[in-house]
């Protein structure tokens, strides 16, 4: 009997408790061009949780291998991956020992040239950060779903996206999903961008835990009979670790740590290339997501720049201000890396007042925004509002900050 999956324990359908004529779900799907999937296929609206949206995204993503460790609130998503494995939409799957093991194993899987998925959350991300920060330099396309959660002591399991700041300078592609819909769309786009030859980088799609993962929202999804094209292990900026590539003496992961000027040059040029590849990914995200940003009310004097859940709260603030006859602009940042420097500048170059609401104490997005607008615009950028430690951000808070801001900056 044929091996149903390429599993390292060589399981057959019968070994796995399936009937002998079982056909894995993935084999019943048809490969479709990514642009067609993202923009043309008909969509059906469902009312599902963020984790369920992630499951439907994974079902269509042609994943070869998924490895994760359970951690609140991500566990539900990786359980969902387990169900997909059982249904035959994911070819290989296991629960790893912990996050260093998880993120190391998934980098091994990606080195084999197969599409590799993992998921995590705040403290788990912190535990495995050494492995995660080594992914870009190893040029391993990996998709990681990250459900943000408080990382600080005292221990809490509430949403707070400070963990994203630890990824900003790693060379990883970073997307920030606003809602369940984004958590369905972004992973598919991120996979396709990360596997482009001129990118070949891992991608993390973060969303704010619980608000998105555990709450239901409307999600328009494409028919499940269509899936993305598979990862082509031969198309890559660096060869896969499959021993299929000449020349003979090839050590892709050669240690470059002997102290001499050649090794410094090698390492610095390698780093430059990783960060250049991040920038090169922008063109793919523009095509797949219809832009790195979404701009509401261009030309407004008051602007809100936000990512993730803060966008939804800002949208409501914009709507309520509109009812009162005041136009407030909104820039939703979809990709944190590559950072949409020019798009943000174009959107807010005429603005007088800019608010940056965030779900973390450090204000990492505020710092990012300041760094790209410094010296280029005359608008005042307000340092907030922010909530953290699991707090929600009432729309009233944004409105109060706006009112005060208008008094402060005429």
């Amino acid at each position: 009997m044929a091996n149903v999956v390429g599993s390292s324990v060589c399981r057959t359908a019968v070994d796995e408790g399936k009937p002998a004529d079982w056909v894995p779900g993935g084999e019943k799907q048809t490969v479709v061009d990514p642009m067609k999937m993202f923009h043309e296929l008909p969509r059906e609206k469902q009312f599902i949780t963020g984790s369920e949206a992630a499951r439907e995204s994974m079902r269509r993503a042609n994943i070869d291998i998924a490895i994760a460790y359970p951690i609140t609130p991500q566990s539900e998503s990786m359980q969902q991956a387990g169900y997909l494995y059982d249904e035959g939409y994911i070819k290989e799957y296991y629960r790893a020992e912990e996050e260093i093991g998880t993120f190391s194993a998934i980098s091994g899987a990606s080195r084999a040239g197969v599409r590799s998925l993992t998921a995590t959350s705040g403290p788990g991300l912190m535990r495995g950060l050494e492995a995660v920060s080594s992914w870009p330099g190893a040029r391993t396309p990996i998709i990681m779903l990250n459900m943000c959660r408080v990382i600080n002591t005292p221990l809490a399991i509430q949403p707070d996206n400070i963990e994203m700041s630890f990824l900003l300078n790693t060379g990883i592609l970073m997307l920030h999903a606003e809602n369940q819909q984004d958590f369905y769309d972004y992973p598919l786009a991120a996979i396709m961008a990360s596997e482009q030859v001129d990118v070949t980088l891992p991608a993390v799609v973060s969303t704010d835990g619980f608000f998105v993962t555990h709450a239901r929202g409307p999600v328009s999804i494409t028919p499940e009979e269509y899936k993305l094209p598979p990862r082509d292990g031969w198309r890559s900026a660096v060869p896969a670790m499959d021993n299929e590539n000449p020349p003979a003496r090839l050590s892709r992961d050669a240690p470059i740590q002997k102290s001499n000027f050649i090794s410094y040059h090698m390492h610095s040029s390698w780093q430059q290339e990783v960060f250049a590849a991040v920038e090169r990914s922008a063109k793919y995200f523009r095509a797949y997501l219809g832009g790195l940003v979404e701009v509401v009310n261009p030309g407004a004097e008051d602007f809100i720049i936000a990512s993730g859940c803060a966008v939804s709260q800002a949208r409501e603030a914009v709507r309520q201000e509109g009812e009162k006859g005041r136009t407030v602009g909104l820039v939703k940042i979809k990709t944190i890396r590559p950072f949409p420097t020019e798009e943000i500048f174009e959107a807010v170059k005429g603005a007088k007042r800019i608010l940056v609401p965030e779900f973390n104490q450090a204000g990492w997005l505020h710092k990012e925004v300041c760094s790209v607008l410094y010296g280029r615009t005359t608008g005042v950028i307000k340092n907030g509002p922010r909530v953290y430690g699991g707090m929600t951000m009432p729309t009233e808070m944004i409105l109060e900050w706006l009112a005060d801001f208008r008094k402060e900056v005429k």
């Binding site: 390429g6 020992e97 080195r111 499959d242 299929e244």
Partner: protein
Amino acid sequence: MSLETLRPSPAFKDVLPVEYKDLVDHGPYNNRNGKDSQSVKVTDMGKFKEVIEEHPMCAGCAMTLFIRLVYIGMPNPEHSIVVGTAGCGRLAISQASVPFVYGNYGDTNAVASGLKRGLEVRFPNQKKDVVVMAGDGGLIDIGFQGLMHSWFRHEKFTTIMLDNEVYGNTGGQESGMTNQGKVLKMAPRGKFGEKIDAMGLAKVAGVDYIARLAPTNPARVARTVRRAIMVAREVGSSFIQAYTSCNIEYSIPTPDVMKDAFEIEKERYGFEEIISPAAKEYLDDVEKKAKKKKSDK
């Protein structure tokens, strides 16, 4: 690399790297041709192109000899990938004509788990041998969790511990595999605990093929490596614990390195194999077949 997937046109053979041509024409890449096992022999060392030839290891290092023998023992080097980590060994391993994954310290067995499973998904019709070759510290201290869990999951790759009983690359600190009482850096009053019983742990975890040896008998090293890799290919996890002394940190005079290996072998590092019934059945089968082929000739 695969001789099946890479079949250069004879007209282009000239422009292939010399390394590759030599490995195919005069080395272990091609001598498998139509045979179950490779035919480069340890006794012919020096007469054929080796997978590893140049290295920056210390003069007289026993680990280097052992690593050379590992590559000679590989049943199918053109379809093998080695996973390693920081430590002395990788200085030589990274110079080999077999791809080397150089990961973070202590991540070897997790990386190998993902790599092996990924390769099985991608190449369902071509066995790829994954071999972890790392030091005692990398495996039994910082890599302990990944090591044990890969064994408990019965991941199908080979783990080879280069046991020099010290952190040699960082300058001589004691490791979990150092003997009790030994005075080394970070053990100024002598190592506190006993040398960790790695073989016992492997046994508890259900590793299918476990071997301990010193590089005193080159042909035995090659045979043991071959057995471990064959078991990992078809049955389950395999583990080799090899005494590869550090002549620098243990102050062994260079001409006496092999003398030390023989002495330690006699004293406490004797050759031992622990083979599960399933692995034994499999090995008996392949080794009988190989013998029969020989006698048929």
